[in-house]
Amino acid sequence: MAVFDTPQEAFGILRPVCVQLTKVQTTENVERLQAQLQTVSDSALQELQEYVLFPLRFALKTPGPKRESLVQCVVQCITSILSTTCVKKQDLLQELFSELCLCLSSPSGLQPPAPLSEELKLTVIQALHVLMHSAYGDILLTLYQPSTLPHLGFAVSLLLALAEQEKAKQIKLAALKCLQVLILQCDCQEHHRPLDTVETRQCGNLFASFLPGISIALSRVITGDIKQGHMVTVSAIRLFYQTVCLVMADEQLATITQDEEKPSVEQSRLSELVVHRGPDWVKSTADKLSLLIHKIVEFASLHPHWKVRMELVELVHLLMLKCSQSLVESVGHLLKAVVGLVNDESNEVQSKCHEILRSIAELRTVAENRALADVLSENLHSLATALPRLMNSQDDQGKFSTLSLLLGSLKLLGPKVSIVLNSAAHLQRLSKALMQVLELDVADVKIVEERRWGPEDTLGEPLGSSQHGKGQKKYFRFFIDERIFLLIQQVCRVLGYYGNLYLLVDHFMGLYNESVVYRKQAAMVLNELITGAAGLGVDVLHERETAVSTEDLKGTITSILEEYTDQANWYLTTSIDTEGTSDELTVKHSRVRAIPRGAHSSSLISSSSPSSDPNPTIRSMNSNIWQICIQLEGVGCFAYVLGKEFRLLLASVLYPVLEKAGDSTLLISQTATGTMVDVCHACGYDSVQHLINANSDYLVNGISLNLRRVAHQPHASRVLEAMLRHSDASLLPLVEDVIQDVLSALDQFYDDRASSFLGVLSTLVAALEVQAPPPEPEMDDSGAEGETPLPAHAQIAKDVMERCIHLLSDKSLRVRLKVLDVLEFCVIVLHLHESHLLPMAHRAWPALVTRLINDDPLVVLRAFKVLCTLAEKCGDFLRRRFSKDVLPKLAGSLVTQAPVSASAGPMYSHTLAFKLQLAVLQGLGSLCEKLDLGESDLNKVADACLIYLSAKQPVKLQEAARSVFLHLMCVDPDATWLLLNQICCLLPYEPPHPSLQPVKLGGMGRQRTEFTDNVLGLLGELQRRETAAFQAGPREAPEPQPPSLTEALG
């Protein structure tokens, strides 16, 4: 299509259609004009702008009713002209502005907008939009004069009405967009001339008149039906804050003086419209806005669409930035919004909130603006007051927002937290609220039931995982969501970070001591307070002025730990299965403190202790378990806080923690183990083992003192066991020292405590065995008995063995079994010191014999094992005693039992009788060898064992019996050969020379019997050995390899 570039050509083209349109105003004529416009270049059109617009405007202005289609067509045409041209004249702008607005007004002019078609409305709005964009910057500003207020007002109310009342989303959006342009806040890409200060103030003055209307209408749009779509709400929010900022900006208001030019408008009607933004006006407007803002915040912060919440955050940002003084009444709402959204599910919203909070904090608006701080502290108070109620009534999401709000308020208060908390009322409310929120659910039976099984301890394992910051998963009464706990944790840490640590710790310590109802929560809070005070794991907006010194932290922590580990708070009833601990504690408790304060308080138990509850319920035990766990977690926290400085506290803390690591309640032992790991990391030890080893002196102190208390002896022995398991030979002197305590305690509480002490003794001697110095040649052989001083470890073993002798005849089966274990270890440790071992063995013998021949089969089994060890170590010292006291009995029982096992079914191998037979058979061979038994005894053994070579015997017994004969072959091969050949002999032993007597053996020519296989096997072996020995020369036959004793007995 031809383009007409010059105005002349264009004029030629456009004139006829313009004339035609002026004459006859029809849609067709407008369309014709529109069509011709396409052929005209922009520059040409600019020249002819007014000319071309004339017929169109004329068409609009013609009085009388018009067809909507025509109006629409005209407006569209105007729009297209304006979109390519500029409006350079003030009059034209104003006139077009009014004319377009009029298109929407109802004929009566009173109730805009007219009931027109949606298309038309949209077209007109767009036309207005385009008009505003086509006006030159300076020209546009002429629209913003007091004299044009009525026009502007008309447009504003029209557009607001459209935004509010229209159904179509498109229209609403367009109207809002247009309004945005109208208040000079257009955010389109096109260049808008920025306003200078004076112009801004003028506009502010002007729009002050519209602020009530705009803000009310927009708040209605914002809080309208969610179905209108989030875009509308977002636009409305944006428009709302832009308008408010335009009018209420602190910067502007500050420049407005009392005698500000009462607008130089003559007409009194107009001057009434113009608002003077004096203090009174500002105050009353702010009050009204506060209501609207409150409404908007409440609504938008719960809006399902994140963009709406995001826009709300923007609103807060801008208003806080620009209007925090004028809108001081609303600051509470605004902060509430942003603080509440700081944990929003949308990351964008979250990070925006963080950014804003940080910028608010950086501006120090909060810290220096007293009014703001007051608002915050009031908010805090009312929130803390409402918290308990809200925690009861809200769902987790609601609780989450409420607590977010609490946290945010604290963060914004920053250093002022400590001032606010100086008010007893505040602190009281807040702490009580925390006590309620943190209440644990203690109904779970499992917590109480789950016991620790398996290996005695898990401390030695390479590395338990650190629990710092996590702790055991807790179950709360009032919420389930883990995030809520994290929020509360942050609340406490922020309190610790900013607050006066002494005041806070004192207060919560007070609650801790006040009632068992608060104790667990208070301990949780205390743990977090300290963490926060150290500045660890706490997220804040402003740095505090002064950090708490390490010395202060240490002092505070020391006093908290003193409370935690006080008997009344550390030894609580956690189970009803009494391995003897809890019940004794409850009996021993006493109200009176024997020594006034300052005395080492751990020796006394006050009756306020929950452990004094004579009938512990599941709930109370569960609660006690949790209390201990929380306190243990506290120890871990504190270690983390103090780092290596915590080493100084190990003297008082390590023992109690290690004690709990051996607790029979699973949760406690797990937690304590975790705490050990935490402490280990914090104090810079490579491993828990290293930690224990390096601080054994502290442990020994605790063990020694606790052994003095009957009720604590089981704990003390657990700790000692753990210590022994992790200690090495370097600790022997210390161990030696404490063992004296154990032994004297054992001597003192013989009857009731033997079992628990034996555990320790057994660990002890086992450790001694491992740690014993490398064997040196026996030096004291020639010396008088017992005169050479024993090495320390051997002396301990001897002392222990002494006690074992007494306990060998204990009436408890368990004790007897355990004693035998210990005894065996003692023998092993002492074996290098024969002059000491033999007298001990002599003393132990009678009791041991009784165990061997006249006791429960289980004991016999163990005793036989000890006997074997003893035989290995004491050699022929036992020979006579054995053959006199034991062998007849053993052989006898083997003989009597043989028919039973020969005819027993497969289940027999699970019986104790079988195990006993097996053990005796497996051990007897080496016993014969070690003890170097005489011929008659060997015959006794052989006779008793021979019957077990029967194929009718269980395979294992046959095998064991064969091992006896293999040993016998070593002791006396000829006798054995003869004996076996008496049973069975396949080889015809031809005399090498006829003059020799023919060999007659009992087994010759016998039928194959039940014994044949085993006997032949043994004879074969004997033959093999003889040959080997013969070939190897006069050396001794190789040792037989019977199954090792431990293997066999295990």
Binding site: S590, P596, H600, D697, N701, S704, L705
Partner: protein, 342 residues
């Protein structure tokens, strides 16, 4: 129901020998930590850090012979120690040093512990058993010049001095010496004249230990018999028995009155530490921990009364540390029943 007897606050282990003497130094300011010096029968002096409860330093200067008296001088940087090798050593402990800078040879071979009294800034008097068996010598420190030699009249025959206590009524006034002797008597010496002012036969057996309260001008002594004797000094400088307390088990190795003059502690041969109210000698507690004779007791000089400790050293190689009756004000209440030893 019997109350549980109190426990030590903690126990120091590792001397590997009998503990014969203890001396606290806890008056320092941070970062100085409280210290306890202990002297043992193996000739070693252990310097215990009471904060870590561990040995900081071990001083070896008495040739393996028993150390039976230690006392700090010049703050914590110098230490006097007396050993059975007949030497009194002056140790320099400043800046981590541990060297003997000076020593005095004592010609006496008894067990009598020295007594030290600060008479002026930088000047001390030290009473020590003298060359002759019944003689006490008083030196001025640091000059080591002999101030006087106190020797009883030939016919007095109190035997060897067993226990010494230098004191003065007021700072700067004329010092006196109280000495307990082998024959069970306590003698008050006037240092300026070298004369006996008063002599009191208070025990049948040697006086093992004595302590004196110069404010109330009364003292206490223990011997190998089963009596604890409190005696007073009247205006005429006469010693008079004020009260005796009969013990069930004989033998008091050491007595110590706490600085605040409220309580008295005794070290018993029966392995027990006993606590008495000093005013009326009211038995307050029996501290039962050691498994052998308790050789010495000592109270700490913490500036804060609530931190004050009692330490006891025993033949069982252990030092027990107790925190008892250290409330700042008010009467001593809740006394423990004194239990009859079994």
């Amino acid at each position: 129901m019997a109350l549980p007897p109190p426990d030590p606050q903690f126990v120091l282990r590792g001397t590997s020998a009998e503990v014969h003497t203890l001396h606290f130094y806890c008056g320092g300011q941070e970062p100085d930590y409280p210290i306890l010096f202990s002297g043992s029968s193996n000739g070693l002096i252990h310097v215990w850090n009471l904060k870590t409860r561990r040995v900081d330093t071990i001083l070896d200067g008495h040739g393996g012979k028993s150390v039976y008296w230690v006392e700090a001088i010049y703050g914590r940087d110098r230490l006097l120690s007396q050993g059975r090798n007949q030497k009194i050593c002056l140790w320099d402990l400043a800046e981590g040093r541990n060297t003997v800078t000076d020593s005095v040879f004592t010609e006496n071979v008894g067990f009598c512990k020295c007594s030290l009294l600060k008479v002026a800034q930088g000047h001390w008097l030290m009473a020590m058993p003298g060359k002759d068996l019944d003689e006490v010598q008083v030196l001025e420190l640091p000059s080591k010049t002999s101030v006087c030699t106190l020797k009883p009249e030939a016919d007095a025959k109190p035997g060897m001095p067993m226990s010494l206590k230098l004191w003065q009524p007021d700072f700067g006034s004329c010092p006196f010496l109280l000495a307990g002797y082998e024959d069970g008597s306590v003698i008050l010496w006037n240092l300026s004249g070298g004369k006996i002012l008063s002599r009191l036969a208070c025990h049948q057996e040697p006086v093992m230990s004595l302590d004196f309260d110069s404010e109330k001008t009364k003292g206490v002594s223990g011997s190998s018999e089963e009596v604890l004797t409190v005696w007073s000094l009247d205006e005429q400088q006469n010693l008079k028995v004020q009260k005796t307390h009969k013990l069930v088990n004989a033998g008091i190795a050491d007595v110590a009155i706490r600085q605040d003059k409220k309580i008295l502690a005794t070290a018993g041969w029966d392995h027990r530490i006993r606590i008495f109210g000093w005013k009326k000698l009211k038995p307050l507690a029996i501290l039962d921990y050691h498994t052998a004779t308790v050789h010495c007791v000592s109270f700490s000089d913490h500036s804060r009364p609530s931190e004050r400790l009692l330490a006891a050293g025993s033949k069982d190689h252990r030092i027990s540390i107790w925190s008892i009756y250290n409330q700042t004000s008010g009467a001593l209440h809740c006394p423990l029943e004194t239990r009859k030893p079994d």
